[in-house]
Amino acid sequence: MRAGFVGFWRNAFISFTSIIVMVVALFVIASTLFNSYSLESALADFQDRVDINLYFVVDAKPETIDALKSEIEALPEVASVELTTREQALQEFRERHKDDELILQGLEQLGENPLGASLAIRARETQQYEGISNFLNERQSKETVGTPLIDRVNYQKNKDAINRLTDLINTERRQNEIISLLLILVAAFVMFNTVKLAIYNSREEIAVMRLVGASNYYITMPFVIVGVMQGLIAGVLVLLLLYPVLIWDETLFYPFPFFNDASVQAFLFDYFITEFATIFVVIVGGGVLISAISSFLAVRKYLYV
């Protein structure tokens, strides 16, 4: 234990360079963390905007609408169903066309509300829209015999867009996973090699320790402790560094340029603050772990020639 601390200070320069390399490597790991988080929130945001709209006929009774609504809500794939009543639809319509005198006049002349109620249905997963749509279509075809209730379902129209988005989301997610994994591997490898080089400098010392009959534990522990300390310092440095960088310009970590609009400003910073415990564990824990394991393996190498 004591020898570990002494070793850390005596090899201050080598320790320092190792820490710098580790900071860079851990920074890369941190950026993949932020990258995948912003990607996930972007994808969640897109998914949120996807829905199926079901339009009722104008004279559909509120009770039947409610009945269908609860029926749809009961489906396991459905995340939420939002009802827009006829009155709300009219109000929204007015709002949207408030600058268009002609349309508003036409509406006045009509005297009654020409709009039907509608349901906005959201699935839990984008892949599930197909199933929900099929269910709704079935309902619709059954109803044509009596009084029709459902006017139309707009899924078919949106289908292509939804499918393309689903594909895009899946590819993007997969690509991001592969890239993150590669970057983390590279970072870990760089850290491992730095530690190995630093310990290469001590191979004579290890050989002497072995000759005087030092146990493997006695030889290995100081190096592992130095590794733990280096990982710890590097991890804390990265966290200290991330704070100003995120305040300065967090768009550095965004995966897409178009994601960069005012509505999402500072969300990574919020993520950094709220999820600090997780990030701390990943960065500092990862640093300590990689560095300690590297030290251990590197010493082993010189322990058994």
Binding site: R10, A207, V208, L211, V212, G213, A214, S215, Y218, V305
Partner: protein, 232 residues
């Protein structure tokens, strides 16, 4: 003859490069407790290989090496450090740690063996006294002469009170006076009851010692004399 053997080499061969070079060929000999054995021979005669077998640095291709009744090359790796504590080693190039003082280099060998601090404070000055270096205890290796460095290395080798001292060309880098001092110290250690095994090139050392000499040539033992002289 000896009553029982401390070290026993049984038909040991060592072949490097899959048969191309033979370092040791069918070597058998015994060493009794408290003997002072010199191994002589030209460079490449197999002296160093022989010593490496003894501290389990290297495995023989054929044959066995026994320490008391223990087959050295059957000791599990995790037990090797324990075994090596029975043997003190001294090398031509000293192998001192450059960032530690003479005192620390010796104390370190004790620490590595898990000795208590009070033992260290007691034994290290004794070891330094034995090699006559009390006044250089706080010098770093680069501040010492070759002979002094070798004496520190010997102090380090004996401080754990090993059963055997192995000295591989301990005088190889030293001038005649330092050589004489080092050999006197080794002889003193032997007189105190420790087995000493030394390899050397130095004719004067051998002739002056008048102890057992094993002569090697091309991986074989060619002579083994109880009161040998250097004949090559």
């Amino acid at each position: 003859m000896v009553l029982y053997n401390m070290i026993y080499f049984d038909k040991v061969s060592k072949i490097y490069n899959s048969g191309k070079s033979i370092a040791l060929e069918d070597v058998s000999f015994e060493i009794a407790p408290k003997e002072f054995v010199s191994i002589v021979g030209h460079s490449g005669a197999g002296k160093t290989t022989l010593l490496k077998m003894l501290i389990a640095e290297d495995q023989p291709s054929h044959g066995q090496v026994f320490y008391e009744s223990l087959d050295i090359h059957r000791i599990p790796r995790s037990r090797l450090p324990h075994f090596r504590r029975k043997i003190g080693t001294v090398f031509q190039d000293f192998k001192l740690l450059p960032h530690k003082t003479a005192y620390e280099n010796i104390a370190f060998a004790m620490e590595a063996n898990g000795r208590h601090d009070s033992e260290i404070e007691e034994n290290v000055p004794q070891a330094l006294e034995l090699v006559d270096l009390e006044d250089k205890a706080w010098n770093f290796p680069h501040e010492l002469s070759g002979g002094e460095k070798q004496r520190v290395a010997i102090a380090r080798a004996i401080v754990n009170q090993p059963d055997i001292i192995i000295a591989d060309e301990p005088t190889g880098n030293l001038d005649p006076i330092a050589t004489y001092e080092v050999v006197q110290i080794l002889r003193k250690i032997n007189d105190l009851g420790t087995t000493v095994i030394m390899t050397t090139h130095n004719k004067g050392v051998i002739d002056e010692l008048g102890r057992r000499v094993i002569t090697m040539d091309e991986g074989r033992i060619v002579r083994d004399d109880a009161e040998g002289r250097y004949v090559l």
